[in-house]
Symmetry: C2
């Protein structure tokens, strides 16, 4: 099911700056029985992105169209749905400069998921991506449409047969996995890389930092992590909107057999579900 500006549509009118330049934003939403999980956190990130890119205000329109799509999904009786929201700056004349009064386009694409998202996925095997995140403080944190680095990293780990890959920054420090944020337990402290120069500030990352780890009494902080720090960690997991939290079983030669913290965080996640 695909909707464009509120109406079912199988195609994007051309030209569109989202295609031409990646001039837009997206969110990957998980819905349970037609209800968007943690919607406010997605809207907060979207709002930050709209400000960075200088889009006209359109969040209200997004919310209305999302509500209508969610209602249609609920009517279909889908249990779990992945819904991609894409927001582009719309049409424009030739050239990089946006039109003075852009008309953003809102795309919603829904896919039914066949797994029970209350169940934690089995522990993942990670490789190390050969491409690093580029350094760009202006765009760090937001979820814009310029995603070639992750595409190349995903192409590589798929070919290698691993489940995910750790991505570094240009200085060789750990940033994330391709589609998620990464956490490492070092002693009694849970750590995740800061995202000042690159990476995406995930909604589930913020929930671990601000809600789920504190609820367990686990001290958690942003902290630079090297590959060696990750290998030396007592436990490693990553998170994103579709997976919740997922433990890591292997990274290179390092193997983790137990994931008590990740299980406890998954339980917190489960309690937060509608």
């Amino acid at each position: 099911m695909i909707w464009l500006d509120g109406a079912p549509s199988p195609a994007l009118p051309l030209p569109d700056r989202g295609l031409d330049f990646g001039d837009g934003l997206f969110e990957t939403l998980l819905l349970r029985r037609g209800q968007v999980l943690f919607a406010e956190r997605h809207f907060e990130r979207l709002e930050r992105g709209l400000q960075v890119l200088g889009f006209p205000a359109c969040l209200q329109r997004v919310k209305e169209q999302l509500e209508a799509a969610a209602a249609a999904i609920a009517l279909r009786g889908w249990h779990w749905t992945a819904l991609r929201l894409t927001l582009t700056r719309g049409a424009g004349p030739r050239g990089y400069a946006p039109p003075p009064q852009p008309q953003p386009r809102i795309l919603l694409a829904a896919v039914e998921l066949d797994r029970d998202c209350t169940q934690m996925l089995p522990a993942a095997s990670l490789s190390l991506a050969s491409i690093a995140w580029s350094t760009q403080p202006v765009l760090a944190g937001i979820k814009h449409l310029n995603r070639l680095e992750q595409v190349l990293a995903a192409r590589e780990y798929s070919a290698a047969g691993s489940d995910e890959a750790v991505m570094l920054d240009q200085a060789g420090q750990v940033v994330s996995v391709v589609a998620g944020n990464v956490f490492a337990l070092a002693g009694d402290r849970l750590l995740t890389p800061p995202l000042r120069a690159c990476g995406i500030r995930g909604t589930r990352r913020d929930l671990v930092l601000q809600a789920w780890a504190p609820a367990l009494g686990v001290p958690v902080a942003e902290c630079a992590l090297s590959v060696r720090d990750l290998e030396a960690a007592d436990e490693v997991f990553y998170c994103n909107a579709l997976l919740g939290v997922r433990p890591v079983a292997r990274f290179g030669d390092r193997v983790w057999r137990r994931h008590p913290l990740c299980h406890a965080l998954h339980e917190q996640y489960g309690r937060a579900l509608p």
Copy 2:
């Protein structure tokens, strides 16, 4: 006029990875009476991009569709045409990883130009972009679809009323203008920044380096340039496929009133036209 995979089309079928992730490449071609200028240089860059992104071979298909589009443009009697060629990795399942056997889509969008492109544009006024190019050696030089930095820089200089803006790298060295490569004449040497960590290797940049400056007996080289180097230059110009070469009249407080080298290079350019 827009063609998708060889047929007139006003829309892009969804999903498409070009929209979802900027997973694709483009070229901006200038046509004179339906003839693509310096086509081989565009194909060379496209070929490098296809290799970096790991697309299946499709250059022959691109050439055939481009030929057909050029013939249609010639039939219309358009004198000068800007033709954007966009190549995406096509449809795919959800997620960053490309499908194992992608079916790239070829989009061609033609616009008639109303100016006489044999005439050099008047000298331009440049500002300094506040956003810098991100550092990404893997993608440097190729013309992929991840262009948000240039969009934000163009938005800024348009609002400020200048013609173009100088963009720096993360270390503060000069890279380019938003839509073109930049050259500075320092004494008798013509210099342009290397593009190892960011920027696009322009077809006209290569022509200045390899053909037009050598034909004038002007020593030309890649060399790191600071903002101060640019301000101290005897002459500054930039180049791209639609403009050819364009002299710079002003950058910040620095003013240049004469542009003899740029005029001579424009004459070389004119001789190379069909």
